[in-house]
């Protein structure tokens, strides 16, 4: 019995090895995250289906320079979106430290942008966000820090599938997840990474290269 198990394990290991080798040949493709819509139409008497991947809805928020930015601001760019607040004592410092590394790696690369939404609608005004951005070391508009009404920001978090909640018992008064969401040029979600873990950042960097090569 034992040796049978062992054999099984070896077989499994070999097949994993084979699979990973063979997928090395063709290019890696990123998945589409979220439920896609399927449109059916009839062409020449036959039903054909058209699958459209999930995309984030359009938006407009005030940024750290008190300028209204919208989804158009990210036209023809891939970008990383996350949710944070400036007084957050728990996961945000780690998250923003890690995202800063990505920002610095893509210095001078206009194809890549960053979008941090504040969930502290009471305190994080554009002026507070501006000072935060400067202290973090963000010097240009490739990284946008935005605020909006509670309804708009928390609604947007839902559209990114990131959990956010006002919660008195959470450190700093808000509870939220630390995901980095990778968005492609057509506003489709192509990856989700735990922004607090350094090996997830390596994965994100690798996936960004894949995404930048796409069409």
């Amino acid at each position: 019995m034992k040796s049978y198990l062992k054999f099984n394990f070896i077989a499994l290991a070999i097949s994993v090895f084979l699979i990973s080798c063979s997928s090395n040949g063709n290019e890696k493709k990123l998945p589409y995250i979220g439920e896609s819509t399927v449109n059916e139409k009839t062409v020449d008497g036959q039903t054909v289906t058209d699958t459209i991947p999930y995309a984030i809805p359009s938006f407009s928020f005030l940024n750290q320079d008190s300028v209204m930015i919208t989804d158009k601001t990210f036209e023809n760019k891939i970008f990383i979106a996350n949710f944070f607040f400036t007084n957050c004592p728990s996961i945000c410092p780690t998250m923003q430290r890690n995202l800063l590394q990505v920002y610095e790696k893509y210095k001078d690369d206009d194809r890549v942008a960053f979008l941090s939404h504040s969930i502290d609608f009471k305190y994080d005004s554009p002026a507070v966000l501006k000072s935060y951005a400067e202290k973090l070391g963000v010097t240009d508009d490739r990284w946008q820090f935005v605020m909006g009404s509670k309804k708009d920001i928390y609604g947007m978090a839902d559209s990114y599938f990131v959990y956010t909640k006002e919660d008195e018992t959470a450190p700093g008064g808000y509870d939220h997840q630390g995901y980095f969401m990778l968005i492609d040029k057509n506003k489709h979600i192509r990856g989700a990474y735990d922004g607090t873990l350094i090996d997830q950042i390596d994965l994100l960097l690798a996936d960004m290269e894949v995404l930048l090569k796409e069409q």
């Binding site: 728990s90 945000c92 410092p93 780690t94 430290r97 800063l100 400067e134 202290k135 973090l136 070391g137």
Partner: protein, 142 residues
Amino acid sequence: MKKHFLIISFSISMLLSILIVSCQPNVSIETAQYAVNGQKLYITHCQNCHGAKGEGLGTLYPPLTDSTYLRQNRHQLASIVKFGMQGAIEVAGKTFDNAMPGIKELSNIEIAYILTYVTTTFGKDTKTYTQEEVQESLKGHQ
């Protein structure tokens, strides 16, 4: 089976002693033990803001590597940890003006562990930050 256990525990203690010897030259066993305990607490309570190597973050969170600052303010360190601090300070040649929340749930011995880790690993000190020093530092606040 017993033999196995012996070999494993022997190699673990060898490894540990090599680690302690190589990382912390000229440090007493007590200081080394405080620092080991302090590292775990540091990761839980401080690392998010001050960084894994005490490097800080921009001008949001100051580094804990400025030995001069740590030495000059040694008597205040425990009270900074327990009660937090705010207002402009100068660390490693840069000005910081933010607020650090106090971490009230830490006990005196835990603070001693953390500060021994900080001052001997990021700073250049070699001695234990003792419980007596913690008590002394917290006195002004109670």
